[in-house]
């Protein structure tokens, strides 16, 4: 099954930490409660400074973003271990973040929850792309195409099937590492 998405991109710089992805005041929302999960999405990336990011990521009063792909620089997701960060982005409708590099816990939380594909780029895309550019992300060939140019991304490797499965629990059950889900 081919997996390709086309979407406008949202571009941010280096060191976007978890407070900018989901400010601490919204951590009172519990991600496993359905309506609070949706609400978290409405606040995704709301901590970005207004002067540097005049275009809001999620329009005021809405739950979803139009940007399914986020482009970033170094150390995306640094700071706290809050899983609310990848969850807020996933809940808002983001499918992938393409960055120069990721902070460890954010990367792991993307994989564990299956909310987002965290792609490492080979070149610094946040300097060549602009928010609103239309890009096509090809998950099968690990490429991003925008403005007539195709960029090769680093393959996701062994984390890919975990995210495809929808996170570590689904993956662990599929591969027989833990027992089938108990009926709740």
């Amino acid at each position: 099954m081919s997996h390709v998405i086309t979407s406008p991109v949202y571009v941010c710089a280096d060191n976007i930490d978890t407070d900018q992805i989901i400010p601490a005041q919204y951590l009172t929302l519990v991600p496993t409660i359905a309506e609070e999960y949706e609400k978290l999405g409405s606040y995704a990336l709301i901590g970005l400074p207004d002067d540097l990011y005049p275009q809001r990521f999620v329009p005021e009063g809405e739950l979803k973003t139009t940007y399914k792909i986020v482009i970033a620089g170094r150390n995306f997701g640094c700071g706290s271990s809050r899983e609310h960060a990848p969850i807020a982005m996933g809940a808002a409708g983001v499918e992938a973040v393409v960055a120069d590099s990721f902070a460890r816990i954010f990367f792991r939380n993307c994989v564990a929850t299956g909310e987002l594909y965290p792609y490492d780029s080979n070149e610094r895309l946040c300097d060549v792309l602009t928010t609103g550019d239309i890009a096509t992300l090809d998950f099968d060939n690990d490429t991003l195409t925008a403005n007539g140019k195709t960029y090769q991304l680093k393959p996701l490797g062994e984390v890919r099937p975990v995210i495809d499965a929808g996170g570590i629990f689904n993956f662990a059950r599929k591969s027989g590492m833990i027992a089938a889900k108990a009926e709740a």
């Binding site: 060191n15 901590g47 400074p49 207004d50 170094r74 706290s80 929850t113």
Partner: protein
């Protein structure tokens, strides 16, 4: 093997592991709190069933500490969600805000922010509570749903932060699959000069390797300089490994570690056996550097990230609106003692807030007398707004009524550990990280100030 590799090898039942190996480790302790606990419990129930039981009641510690003294009803509810789970599972280690097991937590804003509003079991900030309450032991594996879990590396423990989903997995299985990190060695020589604190050491090192200089790696601290430091100093350093992207911090175990741990486990009746890991001759590091502690000066991490290093003495032109002392990193008794040493008999020039990390710190500040005055009184007499409500408070902003929160754009010097935009509240404000000495000296002058101007 490095210290981290030795602990991970033992916990995964292998004779040897190497950086890059993926191993399943048996977890000795899982810690969660009010911000990530309810979501972790949600994952556990969704995945293991509503009647599932945690893997080992003795190995789970739940510490409400983040958003406690706020009228925000969702925050109050989250403490209640923890209490319900503790009751249902029969868990022994829950440091509840209230004493009534059937009650509901509700902060009373009318009583104000500074007078104590908690029962007899409440402790305060999780990372400072764990060693105090006898849950921290050398050679063990700790995971916590908080990035500053790495603070326990001060005790020769492998300790790192994880998300709710991983924590939910541990709740059901007691295991986690992790990658063995590469190790970096920071070899400390000499001793710190007057006016310099452990906070300056870690700010200096982060400035050296950069805000992501330890990403995915273990930061191992060695050398004679390490052994000159007390456990509080080591905790301050280990706490901030994450601010360089580190997976964990790791200190060797010495007699100071052993005495500290033995005293706490005995006092609390917690498990007292432990097996430290020692330094091998054949360690392999991806980075190895010597730091001379005697050369370090009071250091500041400037807005907007912990790697923006400058010396305090070069920053006298930065005018400040607020000073803040508190958190796991900077709210220990020793931190307040240093602060009091600078402000004693003087008056702060800008709004200054003090939030003890734990309820024990509150008690100690009231009990310890200097020249006939308690440390608490010295601070209050200097104009510091002290609260008895120990918690994470404004270190991470929190709900808008949080004590000390930056609710408007302002410049704040803080003894806490993180300064990304919006960390302490308003996203246009600027936070400068420094030692308790430097924060105190800056509070007195209203601008960033080298504390050696006040310390003889």
């Amino acid at each position: 093997m490095t210290l981290t590799e030795k602990i991970l090898a033992r916990a995964s039942g292998k004779s040897r592991v190497e950086a890059g190996d993926n191993v399943w480790v048996n977890v000795d302790l899982l810690m969660t709190h009010d911000v990530c606990g309810p979501g972790t419990i949600g994952v556990f129930k969704r995945e293991f069933g509503k009647d599932a039981k945690v893997w080992d009641k003795q190995k789970l510690v739940i510490i409400p500490d983040h958003y406690i003294f706020t009228a925000d009803s969702m925050s109050n509810r989250n403490v209640d969600l923890l209490r319900e789970f503790v009751k249902e599972q029969g868990l022994p280690y829950f440091y509840d805000v209230i004493d009534d097991e059937d009650g509901h937590w509700k902060f009373d804003a009318a009583l104000g922010q500074t007078k104590k509003q908690y029962g007899s079991r409440y402790t305060g900030v999780c990372h400072t509570t764990l060693p105090w309450k006898g849950h921290t032991r050398p050679g063990e594996i700790l995971f916590g749903t908080d990035s500053h879990t790495c603070m326990a590396g001060a005790f020769n423990q492998f300790a790192t932060g994880i998300g709710n989903t991983d924590a939910g997995f541990i709740l059901g299985t007691g295991k986690l699959l992790i990658k063995v990190p590469e190790s970096m060695r920071f070899f400390l020589e000499g001793a710190m000069r007057p006016g310099v604190m452990a906070k300056d050491v870690i700010l200096h090192v982060i400035g050296d390797i950069g805000f992501d200089g330890a990403t995915y790696r273990a930061m191992q601290w060695e050398g004679p300089g390490v052994f000159t430091m007390n456990m509080d100093d080591r905790m301050t350093i280990a706490n901030m490994a994450i601010e360089a992207g580190g997976k964990n911090a790791m200190f060797p175990c010495d007699q100071k570690t052993i005495d500290y741990v033995n005293e706490r486990t005995k006092e609390n009746g917690t498990k007292s056996e432990f097996e430290p890991v020692d330094i091998d001759a054949d360690q392999r590091f991806v980075y190895d550097k010597i730091f001379d502690l005697s050369k370090l000066e009071p250091t500041v991490a400037c807005h907007p990230d912990p790697g923006q290093r400058k010396l305090a003495k070069e920053m006298g032109n930065v005018q400040l609106d607020r000073a803040y002392i508190g958190s796991c990193t900077g709210g220990k008794t020793s931190d307040f003692l240093a602060f009091a040493e600078v402000v004693k008999g003087k008056t702060v020039k800008i709004d200054t807030f003090g939030v003890p990390a734990t309820t024990k710190v509150v008690q100690e500040l009231k009990d310890v007398m200097v020249d006939g005055l308690s440390v608490w009184s010295i601070l209050e007499n200097a104009g510091v707004r002290m609260t008895e409500n120990a918690s994470c408070a404004a270190c991470l902003g929190g709900p808008v009524d949080t004590f000390g929160r930056l609710n408007t754009p302002m410049k704040c010097i803080s003894a806490t550990n993180r300064n990304f935009p919006g960390r302490m509240g308003n996203k246009e404000s600027q936070v400068f990280l420094a030692s308790p000495y430097t924060v105190a000296a800056s509070a007195l002058t209203g601008r960033i100030t080298d504390p050696r101007e006040f310390i003889s």
